[in-house]
Amino acid sequence: MEITSPTFKANAREALDDTTLQKALGFVKVGFVDRRAKAAARLPEFEALRDQAKAIKDHTLANLDLYLERFEEKVTAAGGTVHWCRDGAEARTTILDICRRLEARTVTKGKSMIAEEIALNDFLEEQGIEPVETDLGEYIIQLRHEPPSHIIAPAVHLVKEQVSDAFRAAHTHLPADRNLDEAPTLLAEARTILRRKFLAADVGITGANFLIAETGSTVIVTNEGNGDLTQTLPRAHIVLASLEKVVPTLEDASTILRVLARSATGQEFSVYTTFSTGPRRAEDLDGPEEFHVVLLDNGRSAMLGTEFQDMLRCIRCGACLNHCPVYGAVGGHAYGWVYPGPMGAVLTPSLVGIDKTGHLPNASSFCGRCEAVCPMRIPLPKMMRHWREREFERHMTPAAARTALGFWAWVAARPRLYGVMANLGARALRIWARGRGALVRVPLAGGWTAERDLPVPEGQSFQAQWTRRGGAR
């Protein structure tokens, strides 16, 4: 997928002016946030479970090679195959080889962010294999030829009229004048069309929310049941997952599952949580004959042991997106790649390079809500700061900002001078404001005030108040 992160500022401006997008984003702000808060409040052990979930992942990451070895052993023992892939190209080739061997013409797909990451659909299409997304949101955006804008609600940037248009354009065998005004009709149409695809598919590809070292199982979590039909009906089930998805035991997965749905959709539990282990058994009456796990590195091993390791705890619940004021204002596409919002602002630079994605860790007000709601307690603002430091070290920060920061640092190292200048500055702003509460324009700071107003300083400076209180409360 083409990266448009370098034009984040332009993308964001466009998004803010897009009235349809703004209407769609309104649905995010009311739904997810309230439901998560209620679900968390209803489980007294929620905060303690977050601590344990974090500890499980920290332990697993420190012993990742050992757990992955044991996972592979168990998959093999159950009759499945693990394929190790360093990058997207290796994973795409591996999947293509399996499809070719089975003479697959259509492939159904459960929702997988890793598949987006390696642009699997475009590749399969080029090779003459039809990939069919089966998650309703993914299906809609596949018809519209666009990437997801949210990691758990891929079509959250759309209103239902846009979905109707996409269905009319794609489902040309149906009467053109049919009524597609309401969501239930749209869902019913997608269900009917995709049901045929499920039954006809030769290969089913799903992602994985977890891999279980103890049993060699892969786990998917859905509300629609599309992942289950994807993996149960075709001859082969291919699981595409990244290395860090492994957890030790079924009990460990259960602990993390308790915080996953509550953080994501605010449900007590998602409708379908499915553990898959190997291909169908001799005595089974249905299920796939082949079971493949394509394990992808694609930059994860390079994060291990660095200040970005904590990001590998991420379980892709989307809570940080739902609670982010920047995401809420501009939506997911502005971020320019697969992963948007705070988790994307940290992960995208790690996976595709800070040189192309420098705007992302700066697209934050550091309000800290992302870290406050992250079920895995990932210190997202801190890691965005790490990226900003790296940018500064590499001289990627604009010259004006560098000069201003250099000047500020020089003054800040001289407390007396800092105090004098802060007082003078505050007084100057008050005079300039002439009684207004906020300034729309400030001399020499036109770039900053172009996007926001500057509140006029009131009362005494922090330093003055600190001194007056004797340096303490």
Partner: protein, 223 residues
């Protein structure tokens, strides 16, 4: 891609060489073998009678319907009542489950019963369940000769039969019971909480996305 495997493991080992939480392989194996439960919420530790009530309440909250019956003999009557109330044809595909067979569904004159997996043409399935998990009203089913997975997903209406003695308090207790059966991990273990749904269009919840539109649980009070 053997080169890739070696390369990936090399990188992981180098990155983790000095990690504070690094453990010996023997310790890792011991942790896996112990499969110890982590924190289980109080809600997942209830006594049998209370857990059945919680299971029913949570399942209904997740939009499943529950019928509590006194004995397995009442299963056919309840299935027929459900089909009639939903205005469905008197036709079911049934899991080849000995307990269901014993209930005598095939002896009902009103009812056409077929056994086996589903090919997508069945309106209603009747299956057993391995367990019910009280903390979230979740059914636990697994694949095997008595439980084809397609029955849980293809029909529009899924009727699952569960005994109260199969209701466990927590997921952990469900895993413990599955391990206690002594067999290998089944191909598929399904945790199912209510019927299929999607909120992908304007974040508005719609029932019946790809899986069953309705989930009906017949609970036999055997405690």
């Amino acid at each position: 891609m053997n080169g890739s495997r070696a390369d990936i493991f090399g990188r992981l080992r180098r990155a983790n060489a000095g990690a504070e939480e690094r453990r010996d392989p023997a310790e890792i194996d011991a942790r896996l073998a112990a499969a110890k439960a982590n924190l289980v919420p109080a809600r997942g530790q209830l006594a049998p009678a209370a857990r059945v009530d919680l299971f029913v309440a949570m399942a209904e909250e997740a939009a499943a319907t529950v019928a509590r019956i006194d004995a397995p003999e009442a299963i056919p009557g309840e299935v027929i009542r459900y089909l009639r109330d939903q205005n469905l044809p008197m036709r079911i595909v049934m899991a080849p489950d000995p307990a269901l067979r014993a209930a005598g569904l095939d002896k009902e004159k009103l009812l056409t019963v077929r056994e086996g997996p589903s090919d997508g043409t069945d309106e209603t399935s009747v299956t057993g369940a391995f367990a019910g998990v009280a903390e979230t009203g979740t059914l636990m089913l697994h694949s095997g000769p008595a439980g084809p997975t397609t029955l849980n997903f293809l029909p529009d209406d899924h009727i699952a039969v569960l005994r109260a003695s199969q209701v466990v308090a927590s997921y952990e207790e469900g895993w413990a019971r599955l391990r206690a059966t002594g067999g290998a991990m089944p191909r598929t273990v399904n945790f199912i909480t209510g019927p299929s749904r999607s909120a992908d269009i304007e974040q508005t919840l719609q029932m019946g996305a790809h899986g069953p539109r309705r989930l009906h649980i017949i609970l036999i009070e055997d405690l």
